[in-house]
């Protein structure tokens, strides 16, 4: 009798499992809700993405209809990865990324420390400080290029002249042009980093600092030994966002320098754009875009790995 009951139970469990897998009429419900969004996503995201991957394996030149479109495997990738122009662009992009991430963390931290003091008008001032991040990078690039880094009429040269310094040919020389792009991107990105760090700072408990103060820690020590380790996760999140946004840098260098004096200031995205929209070598351009994507994923995976190892309090 016991064995019979056991078997019935087993069969019932199997039934439930099969029904759950196949879905009873009620279990179809979620699919109806996600259907419209899913269809649109397939159409405008998955389809183009797959198409881009496929194109990157072809040799396709839009301006040469006589040249047959053929499958060339990873030739595009190898050609691009080994071309000095792409390597230069990659190095430029990575340098911008590193410089921007580090500077934004430092400056953002400074702003955040400032804003977390309680002072009169704090809310208003916070709302004003975050304004740069909602401005289009194009507009910011235009403003900085025309108003600040202009050699004869720029404000920066004017202020320098007040200090007795000669005007600098900002956009005509390589390193000053890079500095111009750097400052513009910095101006745009700091508020976002500041917001993330500020919310992290505000979530820290006071009790630890009070305990440390009793033990005789100076404020500077408590900053480096308490604040930063506790904020590791927040700092990592801010770094991820900034890295992703820097690796795809296009708008600001394009507007401020159009690729730099000559071709010294090209980022990978600008190169991919030129390859596909000016030289019309679609396969090559798509493969460059894919390389940017792969690099972004590698960075993101690295960061997420670091976050997993981080022990949360």
């Amino acid at each position: 009798m016991a064995k019979f009951d056991e078997n019935v139970n087993l069969i019932r469990k199997q039934e439930v499992r099969i029904l759950n897998f196949l879905g009873t009429r009620k279990n179809r419900e979620p699919y109806w809700y996600i259907a419209p969004a899913f269809i649109i996503t397939m159409g405008v995201l998955i389809l183009p993405l797959t198409y881009a991957v496929v194109i990157s394996f072809l040799r396709w030149n839009l301006t040469r209809p006589d040249l047959k479109i053929i499958w060339v495997g990873i030739t595009n990738y190898i050609k691009n990865l080994s071309s000095p122009r792409f390597q230069d662009a990659a190095i430029v992009t990575l340098c911008y990324t590193v410089a921007l991430v580090i500077s934004q963390l430092i400056i953002g931290f400074g702003f955040a420390l400032l804003l977390q003091c309680k002072f009169w008008g704090r809310g208003v001032i916070r709302s004003l400080i975050i304004l740069p991040m909602v401005i289009a990078p194009v507009v910011a690039g235009l403003i900085f290029r025309s108003l600040f880094f202009n050699t004869s009429f720029g404000y920066i040269n004017y202020f320098l002249s007040l200090l007795g310094i000669d005007p600098v040919y900002w956009l005509s020389e390589i390193w000053t042009a890079r500095f111009a792009v750097f400052i513009t991107s910095l101006w745009l990105g700091v508020p976002f980093t500041m917001l993330i760090l500020l919310s992290g700072l505000e979530s820290l408990p006071i009790s630890i600092y009070e305990a440390a103060q009793i033990d005789g820690t100076t404020p500077i020590q408590s900053f480096f030994l308490i604040t930063i380790p506790l904020l590791k996760r927040t700092i990592l999140v801010a770094t991820i966002f900034q890295t992703i946004s820097s690796l795809r840098l296009f708008d600001v260098p394009w507007i401020v320098t159009a690729g730099g004096p000559g071709i010294s200031n090209l980022t990978m995205s600008i190169l991919a754009y030129k390859e596909s929209m000016m030289l019309f070598r679609m396969g090559s351009g798509a493969s460059q875009a894919m390389i940017i994507l792969i690099i972004t994923f590698i960075f993101a995976a690295g960061y997420i790995n670091m976050m997993k190892e981080d022990i949360d309090f």
């Binding site: 979620p30 699919y31 809700y33 996600i34 419209p36 969004a37 649109i40 405008v44 995201l45 389809l47 183009p48 993405l49 198409y51 881009a52 194109i55 702003f111 420390l113 400032l114 977390q116 003091c117 002072f119 004003l128 975050i130 304004l131 909602v134 289009a136 990078p137 194009v138 507009v139 403003i143 025309s146 108003l147 004869s152 009429f153 004017y158 101006w187 917001l195 919310s199 700072l201 505000e202 820290l204 408990p205 404020p219 996760r233 927040t234 801010a238 992703i244 296009f250 507007i255 995205s269 754009y273 596909s276 929209m277 679609m282 351009g285 875009a289 894919m290 940017i292 994507l293 993101a300």
Partner: protein, 274 residues
């Protein structure tokens, strides 16, 4: 944790420096756009003058700026409406049900934020050529939605998860169908989150440059590409450049000042474990 500075003067000095750093470019653009053409770029700059709107007038009359402005508005509002509507319904499903592939899809949606826009712009350009959609607002809306929709789903599903399931069931007990319960009960509760997500969509679409650059020509151009038109006539039309930049900036600035709390909340969501 709030630190108190010992010396108030240093605090306020620092605040003033930070404010100047953040606001000076914005201020100087609007400032210059109100100057008459001939004094716009005098060095040393004139700080006191009579403001005029002639630059704005000439921007709108000399070029088809009005059309580009309308294009921007149409594209931005369309993509926001589509993404939010479809995204919320899908996000509700992600938050309430368990189904095959749910976690994978959520992770995939989060990953779409990592895509450089150019990887979507290139195939969209080619597909647009086949469908004769190049230089139309439709194609641009599709491109923006491709980036917006997954993000809306991911963000809204987080908000929906925070609302207890009991409320759904209570609504259904009271006679709503699931859908009615969603629109009448759950959605209003996520109001702030919804606004924050909508802000993201608006910002992404209005400030976008690369999709407009690659997918539009003269008919469907948006503001971001239109303002680059002025850079070719350098050194002459300074007032126009500043006026055009101001026209592009001011709606977004006003918008973000009005919605500043939602903006801050949306930006920091998920960044800190609260």
């Amino acid at each position: 944790m709030t630190k108190t500075f010992r010396n108030n003067i240093f605090l306020w000095l620092a605040i003033i420096v930070v404010l100047i750093w953040s606001l000076f470019p914005i201020f100087i653009t609007i400032f210059t756009s109100l100057k008459m053409r001939d004094i716009a770029f005098k060095i040393p700059p004139l700080w006191i003058f009579r403001p005029v709107f002639s630059n704005y007038k000439s921007v709108f009359t000399q070029t088809e700026f009005g059309k580009y402005f309308v294009n921007s508005i149409i594209v931005t509002s369309s993509t926001t409406i589509i993404s939010i509507t479809l995204g919320c319904i899908a996000a509700y499903s992600f938050a309430r049900f368990k189904f095959f592939g749910k976690n994978f899809l959520l992770l995939a949606f989060l990953c779409t934020r990592m895509f450089p826009p150019i990887i979507l712009a290139i195939p969209m350009f080619l597909l647009g050529r086949y469908l004769n959609l190049v230089d139309t607002r439709t194609l641009l809306i599709c491109a923006h939605t491709a980036l917006n929709l997954p993000f809306v789903i991911w963000m809204m599903h987080e908000f929906f998860r925070m609302i207890p399931k009991e409320l759904d069931e209570a609504a259904m007990v009271d006679g709503c169908t699931r859908v009615q319960g969603f629109f009448r009960v759950i959605l209003p509760l996520t109001g702030p989150g919804l606004v924050a997500t909508a802000i993201f969509c608006v910002l992404l679409s209005w400030n976008d440059f690369i999709f407009s650059l690659m997918l539009t020509g003269s008919r469907a151009k948006t503001l971001s590409v239109a303002i680059t038109m002025f850079t070719t006539i350098e050194g002459v039309e300074w007032g126009n450049i500043c006026a055009a930049a101001s026209i592009t900036m001011i709606p977004v600035l006003a918008f973000s000042i009005v919605t500043r709390n939602y903006l801050v909340r949306g930006m920091t969501l998920g960044a800190v474990k609260n």
